[in-house]
Assembly symmetry: C2
Homo-oligomer: 407 residues x 2
């Protein structure tokens, strides 16, 4: 087998378990004689372009192990498009450093980049193993059951929604409507996860709006009113990427404050917008929770399933590349059987690159304001170990002895 | 000793450990023959006024035990002022139900109410034990080292800030400034807690603004610029209750959307306002995290110290009232010694009622943009059991082999 050095690149937005994949790759690489040095690129492809590489063999084994419980992206990440000179530069750098094994941890954009690199290396007759490691809280990569990173953000929201519901229910009056704004630009997987600990109809959330459906304000207001009439409180989960029929995002202010390096406007603020709408049109008090980036890197709700799988896809990528695989992403599949168990398989990077997996029709209810039981069946096992059961006092009423209260 | 029934009232905003106090009261009450029935008021004083009482003796012991891990307020709460007829009504109800022991779990407003009730009962020659149980995430009750509820929200923010800092640091470019908005209307205790896991100068947060100091926009922009120049990233913690020199709150929109039942405007939105300010004046990208009510009832970060103390103040209140105490709040004191240990003591409700404990001068730095080491010493033990240590790769750089990258 080809001997050479290995490089790991972390891309895009961080997650709670991105570093668990990094840990898996490094620990597995250390076991194989074919792999000489183990490099990390500082801040994603920028680290390659600017030749900011670090030597991961020199890190303490304890540090590598602790990556399992360290959120975000320890090597640093970036969001950056690449032109053809950039690709030439990358190949030149790989040759100069005898990098023969490369690992790209990222989303569907990153998989496209890895695919292109793999093909260019092939064309240039440069023997190079290129492997993609799926990672995104958005869960929007095709051909994998789910993406590492998603189960933990789903667990975070499942818990936060259950707690927010108890909060909303506890105080008589002040916050009758609560709007939770989740991340997820184009796909509503994260928003959907707010339903994962709901047990009874009046448990939160009561309404869920995903970007897979065009958002209709009048329908929304009608939905809110209906729940409010029944329960006198409403917990609503909305995706930051909701769009109206003109395909425009909702922003709290006029237009986005910023655009990112791909020219996409910074979304966020739809919950504020909807709170105002509810206040004006329905005369109800509404308040929003917008935890922002806290949701995606929180260590307090890491799903054990997620941390384990993130590590495994990294390990498997190393084992496969050594056996000669290149141009593949390590995907997750569900094993048949009642109990949740996953296995890995390889899918071609070109089949994944740039594609987006939306929440399918059968996971969204007909009204477009909630998820179906099928979604729950799909996502519930991902959030991992059971959560503490809360007490629910049964409230046995006492016989009244006084005349009614006269306000 | 007087035999009679007992009632428990939960007031104001919920916390992660309010129900732990409820659990402590009920479990202790069950051990004393003087206490006959154990009632809960549904939705705070509204439950008393409308005679919505429930029988807590009929709940399963398992349910009572599970209250220890159940956030929010299981009996329901409210925010409500009371007039003198209301107090007459309450005394009439207590007489009708032979309620001789009453427990009010709440903040400084609730302590004022309890104080008044205790005095009116005395005047009416109605033998009644009235005890206050401190509970507020705001930590703004005087004469107690801290309030149950605060340690858990402090732990939540300490973790969230550490994680948000890793997130902010990981991605090159997009989110260079992050503004975290914490709760706390008049006192900055919660905002200050964002510093509790900071170890090195460049760890987050880099700047902290408390409502104890008048907020000066120009000074703020200068502070942000200075940190940015040094680190190329800034994590800022601000209190939702910041005010400028005109004593006005900052809102994302013009004025508050709502006022609460005490006529106070619903604060919140200062972080959005500051992000815009940073974008316009400093031309930096800024993004805010505003977790809202999620921070106050999160079960994911309950401090063991907090859950334990919340239960104990409830238990002690029962033991003391049976011995004849009335008109007192159970306060927490710190025992002398290097290791943190607390003890309880009784303070008069009238000495606590309506007063606010602000973050003292010696806990805020001279510049008014951070907390002091004294604050850390005070608050660090409260957040409880140690948190997992994160990996920090040392990033041993590789020698460069290529000419510099030409953009």
């Amino acid at each position: 087998m080809l001997r050479g050095n290995l490089v790991i690149v972390q891309s895009g937005g961080p997650t709670a378990v991105t570093n668990s994949s990094l840990c898996g790759i490094v620990q597995e690489a250390l076991r194989h004689a074919e792999i000489e040095d183990i490099y990390g690129a500082v801040n994603g492809v920028l680290g390659i372009l600017y030749e900011n590489l670090i030597d991961l063999r020199r890190e303490e084994p304890e540090t590598i192990q602790k990556l399992r419980v360290t959120p975000s992206a320890a090597l640093g990440s970036c969001r950056r498009g690449l032109n053809s000179e950039d690709f030439d530069r990358i190949l030149a750098l790989f040759k100069a450093h005898n990098i023969r094994y490369s690992f790209f941890i990222g989303g569907n954009g990153t998989m496209g980049f890895a695919d292109k690199l793999s093909k260019l290396a092939d064309k240039a007759d440069f023997e190079l193993g290129v492997m993609g490691i799926p990672k995104t809280i958005d869960n929007d990569i095709v051909l994998t059951d789910h993406t590492p990173g998603y189960p933990s953000v789903a667990r975070w929201w499942a818990v936060a929604t259950r707690d927010a519901g108890l909060d909303n229910e506890a105080i008589y009056q002040p916050d009758t409507v609560k709007v939770l704004e989740t991340m997820g630009r184009d796909a509503g997987w994260i928003t959907a996860s707010t339903a994962l600990l709901k047990e009874k109809e009046d448990d939160p959330p009561h309404l869920i709006y995903l970007p897979e459906r065009t958002f209709d304000e009048d329908k929304f207001l009608g939905d809110v009113e209906q729940v409010y009439k029944k329960l006198r409180r409403v917990v609503i989960a909305v995706c930051e990427g909701l769009k109206d029929e003109t395909e425009e995002y909702f922003f709290a202010t006029k237009g986005p404050l910023y655009t990112d390096s791909f020219g996409r406007g910074q979304v966020g603020g739809v919950a504020d917008y909807l709170c105002k709408l509810i206040a004006i049109k329905l005369k109800l008090k509404a308040r929003c929770d917008r935890p922002g980036t806290i949701q995606r890197v929180s260590t307090t709700c890491v799903s054990k399933v997620d941390a384990e799988e993130a590590c495994i896809v990294g390990r498997i990528a190393v084992r496969e590349v050594i056996l000669g695989a290149t141009g593949y992403m390590v995907a997750l599949r569900r094993q048949p059987g009642a109990e949740y168990r996953s296995m890995t398989c390889l899918v071609k990077l070109e089949d994944v690159a740039g594609k987006t997996k939306y929440v399918p029709e059968n996971f969204i209810n007909e009204e477009g304001n909630f998820v179906t039981e099928e979604f729950i069946k799909y996502a519930k096992p991902l959030i991992g170990e059971p959560l503490p059961e809360y007490a629910r006092v049964r409230k046995f009423p006492l016989k009244r002895l006084l005349p009614p209260y006269d306000e």
